[in-house]
Subunit: 261 residues, 2 copies
Amino acid sequence: MKHLLVLDSRGRKPGGETPLVCTPLVGRTRERVLAEAAHILPKSPDLLEWRVDHFGAIADTAAVIETLRELRRAAGRLPIIFTCRAKEGGGHRVPIGAKEVVALHEAVAATRMVDFIDFEIDNDAELVRHVRQSTQAQEVRLILSYHNHSYTPGHEFLVDRFLEAERLGADVAMVQVKPRERADVLRLLAATAEADTKVRIPLISMSIGPLGSVSRIVGGLFGSSLSFAVGEKASAPGQIPIDDLVTAFDIIRRARGGEML
Amino acid sequence: MKHLLVLDSRGRKPGGETPLVCTPLVGRTRERVLAEAAHILPKSPDLLEWRVDHFGAIADTAAVIETLRELRRAAGRLPIIFTCRAKEGGGHRVPIGAKEVVALHEAVAATRMVDFIDFEIDNDAELVRHVRQSTQAQEVRLILSYHNHSYTPGHEFLVDRFLEAERLGADVAMVQVKPRERADVLRLLAATAEADTKVRIPLISMSIGPLGSVSRIVGGLFGSSLSFAVGEKASAPGQIPIDDLVTAFDIIRRARGGEML
């Protein structure tokens, strides 16, 4: 597994096959976003993700940046992922189009108050390039993410989503897919493990929904460097409360007895 | 998943994709076997397995039966699996041959003090038939088990081990294999899930060692009806302490929110 961060929230080097834990914030207003952050920070996630597609004032860039400033103050040095998930990728419907989202990403990157920006790989290639340029210029890291909320594609296609993200200049590659049967969950994990041997950048993957929730627990063993955990409210189906996730990671770490893969 | 028992150790119907927990006893003497049982019974395993290959007096059938009598008394109505694992299957070296093991199984079945007898499917077909007959006559259930402590065979071969056990008249089919890489663990789980749709009997499977230990946690989601947990001492590499295993099962059950597959 390639690690996403040099240090986790406890100041330790991320170790072995234990993924980092990221908690999404899905508040509709500045007050709700900050209240969620205040609620979750004592639970020591390794990162926060602001899911700005849930933010009522998303069309008002100044309001977004103002809330981000307060979020950054609350989070201290904790890394923040800035994500505007599209409806088809499991996001909230937003009143702005893809070009406005790109402009928002550019403005947010320019503040340097976020550490990562997530952008969907299925966007127009020109937009992906634009986001790649504006994040690179500001030393913000780019997560290129593939989402399929209908089904889990075949093994080769999944492996290629990770490779394609790297080809397009991503700093992190993410794949999130919906399983229809339990074999789909295993295929997502196997594709992640194969991609992990083929790319240099860190990977994130998950199989969504109740059927896929186990991938959030064991994904680290197969190369996924981060798992999203529920803070106050799940941002995607199948997410697990942060306390449960950390406990499960501890059990797996003990069971493996520190073995190196 | 097909369930191995009508009721678990708490008198509940085994539910959903949570496997039963079985603790192996690996004492060398009667005193050690009984001490292990006394230690583990308060932790409420669903079954006990007596790994008689670790028993110093295995060649003395009367001594085996005498210890079994005391174990049965200590266990109350808790189901007991009686297993003489061969060296190649991860067992302790025993001073008796396959025919003597079969005679021991016949004598133990005749006492009706055990609920299950485990016999290795790779034994001579005539011996398998003999054990099948003596267990059937005494209403003891037969677990036919396949072991590979060198590597994980291919998908079709693994699926066929479960099918073959059913064809030979097993009441339960078990497959235990060693992974060399993480894809092997996923293949074992996928083969279990496929077999689960093809056979009528309950299945047990696990991928051994630190690399495979995760299969002991998530196997239930893929059709494995039982997981072996460490009591005092592991009987196979990668086994997890019973408390950790039960905690992990609880977390997975919550994460899946009671979804029906």
